[in-house]
Amino acid sequence: MPIDATFPPALVMLAGALLLPLLPRNYRSYFSLFIPLIALVLVWLAPSGVNLTLELMDYKLVVYKVDRLSRIFGTIFALITLIGALFAFHVKEAAKQTATLLYAAGALGVTFAGDLITLFVFWELMSLPSTYLIWARGVRESEKAGMRYLMFHVFGGGLLFAGILLHAGETGGILIEQLTDRNALSSWLILAGVAVNAAVVPLHAWIADAYPKATVTGAVFLSALTTKTAVYVLLRMFPGWEILIFLGVLMALYGVVFAVLANDIREILAYHIISQVGYMVAGAGIGTELAVNGATAHAFSHILYKALLFMGAGAVLHTTGKSKLTELGGLAKKQPLILWLYMIGAFSISGFPLFNGFISKSMVVAAAGEANYPFAMLLMLLASVGTFLSVGIKLPYFTWYGENRGLIPLPPPRNMYLGMAAASFFCLLHGIMPGLLYDMLPYTVHFAPYTFSHVVETSQILIFTFAAFWIFRKRLAGEAGITLDVDWFYRRPARWVQRVFVEDLETAFNKVETLSMDIVGKLSLLSKNPTLIFTKSGGKYFSPDTYRPAIQTLILLVLFSFVLISFWGLLSHLLAVTK
């Protein structure tokens, strides 16, 4: 097949992933930049509409379908793979680079899938490479967390697949469309499967468990791809499902509260993925044009600034080997550039005017107001207070300022700065020129972020959040330890499960085995001399001789009978003579 504008970008990534390990070591990093670049160009050049179909038995698979919603998601997935590859340019291990490209292929495949089977195949393609990016850290805790991550996603994939099968059975069609039947089990199964990947509370625990334990560069891709493909599917199939408003607002606040407790800097960021994705989930739930636009714009912005934040935190981990607030501090003078690039991401996620979070988050909040959910609107604003508190102030304050612990960071590879600078560029670009982002959104935008009242409102919130932080900053210092989350329900019982189903069961089996061997032994002994039951004599083994007259007795008896016979013969003879 010749490569033209209708060639699916997911297949470019896939082909790149397969070719990459064959290349010489020094060319691989360039190749890992080149492939997402081609994919990005293809996403932009592709004509709208169905570009590739395949026949699978009776079903017609729509492998590559482009519209405005999928194009903007495809754009950001390809772009962040490119920026992430720049950040990871110094990584030379073919396995990590291949995993990244496979993972991005999965995300792009889901985005441009026109039917549920294609969607599922690419959905599953994402899970293993992303797990590898966690395992590749190579420490024991990432090995265990990666396995929990994988099992969670296999479970989610199972829910999704069950939903797809039911849906195909009920409707006879496999094309992706808005699901409207709130009473169909299939819709709820698909929703649950997607919700696992969107980290919807209470199916979210894998994210805060696994992301902080991933590799420095892998976490950047993880933060961008898995949850946002799920947001895309929610926007595509579940717009207007009211339950998502409730769940989205819950996520926004839940992430904020748990981030206050977290000690690991990448765990703080992971909880803020849950929080930020909450805005997008709520946007999908509201389902109006403004809300879908807002959720899409926020996904685009979020991918850029969250990748930037993970790059900043990753750079700290890479250069100091530490990632806990209780072990960090006093780095501001030693790595000012990392600090400032991080702060661009922090200002963006907090929704500062002139940064991209401001122009996208406010769309979702405004959509909640417009659709008459004032309570949801206020709670989302409250979550943005918490976002600025944790990501914007607490994390940088205790990492780069705070107590100087005498850490001497190594110089990071230059490409790390380049990757962060590229992400920062887009954060500022869209913050200053929102039109560039708004023009890509699925619906025409009638929303102006830079109104006087909106800027005033945001400034008041941010300034006085900072004031409250400053007063109570001592209470916010990191504390050693971990925070329980719903992963408790499957991690804590693990030892009981281990005890009941492995250890106790094994003990029981051993006991039964010993007992039965014992019984068998005793029975077999008994069978050697059953008469023991009735008599105490006879010895251990049964011997017929015990109950048989001895041969001497027999001979004696025979001889005696001879004697008797001869005696009687003699006697009768004597009697005959005397008569």
């Binding site: 206050v260 407790l261 609107m377 508190l389 005033v456 959040t465 409250a468 209470r475 330890g481 329980l484």
Partner: protein, 73 residues
């Protein structure tokens, strides 16, 4: 934080509070909180305190455990 930064922050705070009074209001369409000029300043300040104390008390109550909680045995 040096004095210059505190001064800048104070100016920004005052300007934002003034902005709250200067924002034109359309009482027919506005939500109730928009009629309070300093609402979002209070919201930010007390919201932040609420989040800190709510989270920290949950942590004290039962959420925070030692580093080896899951690997204890």
């Amino acid at each position: 934080m040096n004095k210059l930064r505190w001064a800048l922050l104070a100016i920004a705070a005052i300007v934002s509070l003034w902005g709250g009074f200067a924002t034109p209001h359309d009482s027919a369409h506005d939500a109730w909180w928009n009629r309070i000029p300093v609402f979002f300043a209070l919201f930010g300040f007390f919201g932040c305190i609420l989040i800190i104390f709510f989270a920290k008390s949950l942590g004290k109550l039962f959420l925070r455990k030692g580093e080896d909680y899951y690997d204890a045995d």
